[in-house]
């Protein structure tokens, strides 16, 4: 039940308007309202709660119950800037209160120390924007711990010899091991690797108002019906609302940040559900709209003062997009795993987190996990081994035999930041509101593809060591569909080479802040949300300090 809300008027000059209620926006709303500020969160999607969530794969997957709709908000794609982009679905994100954290898989790896300083360690990589972060792991460590304890992450501290230092153990034990995890753990150890219980943003023990995981099996792409998945909806939004100072305003599609003659943000303009336009006034604006919509909103907000888009004096808004590299291999085993039961992942390893580029011949690193995360219809449509009959007795026999006996090895890895990989405004295509559509320009760096191929070879070794009766891989190809949306308004100290500073403040607009996947400088090894949330907790501290000393004044 939603509490009685403070219904701010749009003319109320609230302390903060936050655009987006996802992993970062939800946490910033919680922290800033807890710190005494008046906050309005504008979320373009609807306000659904646990009772609205369903296991129905058609409704969720086909009808985009929780995600951006390709017909209302179409995209275009091209590989390189010299091509004309063609209409195709190119980006997927949560479009609901809670954002993508509602439907994510909930893998919650911390970044390691190396992720922040890798450029210094290994040197430049020609043709890329590969660089160090302006903050270190040590700066972020207290906030990783905060995420684990406040949002709810299960795991086992010290289980991986490659883990970075931590100030506290996890607040709750890991989730139970699945058959895929046992197979993975035993085979990885046989090969000399170091598997460990996956840290997951899913409760293994109940918390007030939230159940522990009931192992229903509908995690990836679905909203959790018992509040066990630590989405910002389950873990932050309600806390924010209960302060009495935060209003979550759903169905509010922000399309412009307003700027006064002094170059200060004055609020956000949005369409409501009836497509009526409003402007919510605020003393400061924080955009947490994800790595695609945040740069789009800045570009849409271009005006005479900022002809190339807001906060874009560097020309880097939307650029250096990183999607994370990846590969998947499948194995079929003799006995039933029944891996459709439970959350997706129970075991991972990080032995290849830092590969030696001198030895392997390319830059990169990553982690592997054991999982099963596909729905029944999805399984029948695309997860039987190549060569399986597509209909008839052979098809049915394969469904019957394989569904309970199949597992995946998912390889997650780095992406290098390239200036040519970007989100921008399509010059022709418009969305249902008449706004320029998102255009994705993306071509993987060759090293990203080499890394995916290399990791996938390890996955196949593991499946052999595990005694899989059958194994195969999905082809490794250049990406043209964006899910992890990273790096498009990168953090840095130099206004010429970055969009935000270490306080998440834009270099160009004093009371405009950005915090979400767009803030990342490097891609990590494939699981960004934990870091996005740690950044959000840290940003809340920084912004609170700035606000308290009146730093938003012109």
């Amino acid at each position: 039940m939603r509490p009685d809300l403070p219904k701010y008027k749009t003319s109320d000059d609230v302390d903060f308007v936050i655009v987006g209620s996802g992993a970062a926006g939800g946490i910033l709303a919680k922290e800033l309202s807890t710190n005494g500020f008046r906050v309005v969160v504008l979320e373009q999607g609807p306000y659904l709660t646990e009772v609205d969530f369903t296991h129905n794969e058609i409704k969720v997957l086909n009808e985009n119950l929780l995600t951006n709709h390709p017909e209302l908000q179409p995209n275009t794609f091209r590989k390189t800037p010299d091509e004309k982009a063609k209409p195709q679905r190119a980006v997927l994100y949560g479009r609901v209160v809670g954002g993508t954290s509602v439907h994510f898989t909930a893998n919650f790896w911390r970044f390691h120390e190396i992720d922040f300083i890798e450029r210094s360690k290994i040197g430049p990589i020609s043709g890329t924007g590969f660089t160090d972060w302006p903050i270190t792991y040590a700066d972020l460590e207290p906030y990783y711990t905060k995420v684990e304890w406040e949002i709810g992450v299960s795991g086992l501290a010290g289980a991986s010899p490659f883990d970075p230092p931590r100030s506290k153990p996890y607040p709750m034990p890991p989730l139970p091991v699945k058959s895929s995890g046992v197979i993975f753990e035993q085979a990885a150890r046989k090969l000399g690797w170091h598997p460990f219980p996956a840290p997951m943003a899913i409760l293994s023990q109940p918390r007030p108002g939230r159940s522990a995981c009931v192992n229903c099996g509908f995690c990836l792409a679905f909203g959790c019906e018992v509040g066990a998945k630590s989405s910002s909806l389950a873990a932050a939004i309600h806390v924010a609302e209960n302060t009495g100072r935060c209003e979550i305003r759903p169905n509010s599609y922000v399309h412009r940040i307003e700027i006064d003659s002094r170059g200060r943000a004055t609020g956000a303009t949005y369409f409501d559900a009836k497509r009526t336009v409003h402007m919510q006034k605020a003393k400061a604006v924080i955009v947490c709209a994800n790595g695609s919509e945040t740069p789009r909103l800045l570009l849409l907000s271009a005006n005479k003062q900022f002809p190339n888009g807001l906060a874009n004096s560097s020309g880097l808004v939307g650029k250096y997009l990183m999607l994370n590299s990846g590969a998947v291999s499948m194995g079929v085993f003799e006995h039933p795993l029944n891996d459709y039961k439970g959350f997706a992942v129970s075991r991972i390893f990080h032995d290849f987190y830092e590969l030696d580029s001198q030895k392997v011949g390319f830059y990169g690193g990553g982690g592997l996990d054991a999982r099963f995360d596909v729905t029944p219809i999805g399984f029948a449509m695309g997860f039987l081994p190549p060569g399986t009959p597509r209909w008839g007795k052979g098809f049915k026999d394969a469904l019957h035999h394989n569904y309970t006996r199949t597992m995946e090895i998912f390889c997650h890895g780095t992406s290098l930041p390239l200036e040519t990989n970007s989100f921008s405004l399509d010059p022709d295509l418009k969305d249902a509101w008449g706004l320029p559509a998102l255009r994705l320009t993306y071509k993987d760096h060759p090293d990203d593809l080499k890394l995916a191929t290399w990791m996938n070879a390890r996955a196949l070794e593991l499946l052999d060591a595990a005694g899989a009766k059958q194994k195969w891989s999905f082809p490794i190809q250049e990406q043209q569909f964006a899910v992890h949306l990273l790096g498009t308004c990168r953090m840095g100290t130099d206004p010429k080479t970055s969009v935000i500073n270490t306080d998440h403040r834009t270099h160009d607009v004093k009371n405009l802040f950005l915090c979400d996947g767009s803030s990342l400088v490097t891609s990590g090894r494939g699981q960004p949300t934990m870091t996005i949330e740690a950044l959000a907790f840290r940003a809340a501290d920084r912004i609170t300090a700035l606000a308290k000393r009146g730093d938003f004044q012109a």
């Binding site: 058609i58 091991v177 170091h194 039961k341 029948a380 190549p386 597509r390 309970t404 082809p475």
Partner: protein
């Protein structure tokens, strides 16, 4: 759509490709169709058809029954797939009506062409039926992989195949896969709450044992 690297996106796109083939935006109608199929499969009385004629329904039922045949486990016929499709074509999948209308005409001529003595596909032997289906099957591309959508050229065979799979495997709690036929076949239990052990391999798990100490980072 075909060169998608991201496995994360594929999971969602597996559904999206279905959408491209036939599903539109009226979920309540899907439920209605599913419940209709469910009721039809349970009932011995003939269900009322909304789109197909009785003969057409007989043909579609026979086609779905070759796509997912009946053996010692139920098939598409037992799941009432034809009723799901019939209801769908008058509600949320109206866009696919023409695929069926044209497809059934072509279908009839193909049946006659291959087996001149056969009046209807449904009257053929399983061997004859499979031969006809093979002749109409959309060529399965080699190396189909993640991100490869179901061919969405709205070919009759591919459309019926997709519809049959959806009708067979959608969540029975929402009224689909009549008699739980599909989930019985794949071995998925109906419950939404499970306790470990889940499968064969975690049943005997001895419990977590720490990894041996390790200092070197980067094994390669």
């Amino acid at each position: 759509m075909t060169n998608d690297l991201s496995r994360r996106s594929f999971i969602l796109r597996a559904g999206t490709s279905i959408s491209a083939v036939w599903l539109s935006t009226h979920w309540p109608a899907i439920l209605s169709a599913a419940e209709h199929a469910h009721a039809a499969a349970k009932s011995s009385a003939p269900a009322k058809l909304a789109f197909f004629s009785a003969d057409q329904a007989k043909e579609i039922d026979a086609i779905t029954a070759r796509i997912i045949p009946t053996d010692d486990l139920p098939g598409a016929h037992e799941a009432g797939a034809v009723y799901f499709i019939d209801r769908a074509l008058t509600t949320f999948a109206k866009d696919s009506q023409k695929v069926y209308q044209d497809g059934l005409v072509e279908w009839q001529s193909r049946v006659q062409e291959l087996f001149p003595s056969l009046q209807m596909f449904s009257a053929g032997t399983p061997e004859q039926q499979d031969k006809i289906l093979h002749s109409l099957e959309h060529p399965a591309a080699p190396g189909r992989g993640r991100g490869r959508p179901t061919p969405n050229g709205q070919s009759f065979f591919e459309t019926v195949r997709t519809h049959t799979i959806v009708a067979f495997l959608i969540d029975p709690d929402d009224g689909g896969n009549g008699n739980d036929a599909g989930w019985k076949v794949i071995g998925r239990e109906r419950e939404h709450v499970f306790q470990p052990p889940f499968g064969y391999y975690d049943k005997e798990y001895a419990g977590w044992q720490p990894n041996p100490p390790e200092t070197a980072k980067g094994k390669a």
